[in-house]
């Protein structure tokens, strides 16, 4: 399986996540999965400005040329997009959210009805499944984890996909690898 990991760890003080992901990548590769990992903090990616240029000027591509194009390209060619972040103020990092916002070139502005709701139609025939790896902080509780899961379930739905799982870094690497291999 082709796996694209977005590491949304914003700084060196939250290193535990980087170590976890390094170990996870190695374990996944040992299981013959192909893994591409982006450390988002090392990429140059601007905040979305809401111009909708990716929908109405240069369809499918952001008008701002930065590293987000690389992430979009890799992600849409993957089978699984693994979003990883520490939980900060009850939600994944601003860094990860910034990059999530810059993925909208992958969908189409036209509307479609899906499960009784208005959503956007697909631009591509195939999208990766989503999954979340979250590093809990002292103040993180189960309600936070539930809110994050519900929100990303909807994000997955808007990407014509589904949320495969949400796990915290308290889960053993072996268990996450098994979960991914069973998708």
């Amino acid at each position: 399986m082709k796996i694209c990991i977005l590491n949304g760890n914003p700084g060196s003080s939250r290193n535990g996540l980087d170590c976890y992901l390094k170990e996870l990548s190695a374990a996944l590769e040992a299981e013959k999965h192909s893994v591409v990992q982006f450390a988002l903090k090392d990429l140059t990616i601007k905040y979305c400005t809401g111009c909708f240029g990716c929908w109405v000027r240069t369809p499918g591509e952001c008008v701002v040329k930065d590293d987000s194009a690389m992430v979009c390209r890799e992600l849409v060619r993957s089978d699984l997009a693994l979003y990883a972040s520490s939980v900060i103020m009850g939600f994944p990092s601003a860094l990860l959210k910034k990059v999530n916002d810059r993925l909208i070139p992958l969908i189409h502005p036209y509307l479609a009805i899906d499960r009784g709701e208005v959503h956007h139609r697909a631009r591509y025939d195939h999208y990766p499944q989503l999954a979340l790896i979250l590093k809990r902080q002292q103040d993180t509780d189960d309600e936070d984890m539930d809110i994050i899961s519900r929100i990303y379930e909807r994000t997955a739905l808007n990407m014509k996909s589904s949320l495969a799982f949400v796990r915290s870094t308290d889960t053993s690497i072996g268990e996450v690898v098994n979960e991914i291999s069973s998708i």
Binding site: P59, K97, K98, L111, I113, V118, Y124, D139, N158
Partner: protein
């Protein structure tokens, strides 16, 4: 009342959020002694100023468009900056406006839950979340189509300026439709092939000479 307003739209001063806020603030200002200041969160380098405004306000209104089912990145960036203020005594009351392009309010209900949790995490009194769908086109709609919407925001602001709380019945009216009825959904399905529903996007695609490339899938090419 001293109100700090944070406009969380990535479009800043050119946003639909600004238009809705203008009507709200017009009503808010009708009560004597009320004052407000608006801060634009897309100016991400001004976090120190935002932080100061947050701590000095009696009330904070955080307004943003729904971006990929939650708050835009610039808003999350702002939310991370008051991390040191968690449970500080005398944090301001905190209310929210979430507007989205989708017609139904249902899309914004999960981030509404997040908002309430955020207020409790900060130790702020939670004033509520005003949810409004179908707001993407308000800048191009003729005045008769937006009059009712703008009046409701004005009234919400007026009640808030006077009582310091959101009027629940106005919030309920603004949130309609929560979901589209089966009949409307069927109608939309029937209208889809006509392209009428895509008018807003097609007009812009054509203006930009991009209409023929509208289904481009560039990241699978080459």
């Amino acid at each position: 009342m001293k109100l700090a307003v944070f406009n969380g739209s990535p479009r800043g001063r050119r946003s639909n959020t600004r238009i809705l806020l203008e009507h709200f603030l017009k009503g808010f200002s009708e009560t004597e002694g009320n004052s407000h200041e608006v801060y634009y969160l897309n100016l991400v380098k001004e976090q120190d100023q935002f932080k100061r405004a947050f701590t000095e306000a009696e009330c904070v209104l955080l307004a943003f468009p729904l971006y990929t089912d939650s708050m835009p990145g610039v808003v999350k960036c702002f939310i991370e900056s008051p991390e040191p203020f968690v449970s500080r005594k005398s944090n301001p009351d905190l209310g929210f406006i979430v507007q989205s392009g989708f017609p139904e309010a249902a899309h914004s209900r999960m981030v509404e839950r997040y908002n309430e949790k955020l207020a409790s995490r900060l130790g702020c009194c939670y004033l509520g979340t005003i949810v409004k769908g179908g707001a993407e086109e308000i800048q191009v709609q003729p005045p008769q189509m937006t009059a009712k919407l703008f009046t409701r925001f004005y009234k919400l602001g007026r009640v808030f300026g006077r009582d310091g709380s959101f009027d629940q019945s106005l919030i309920e009216q603004l949130a309609k439709p929560e979901r589209l009825s089966p009949i409307v959904l069927l109608l939309l399905q029937l209208l889809r092939p006509t392209g009428l529903l895509n008018f807003y996007w097609n007009r812009q695609l054509k203006k930009n000479g991009a209409y023929s490339r509208r289904f481009a899938a560039p990241y699978l090419e080459k």
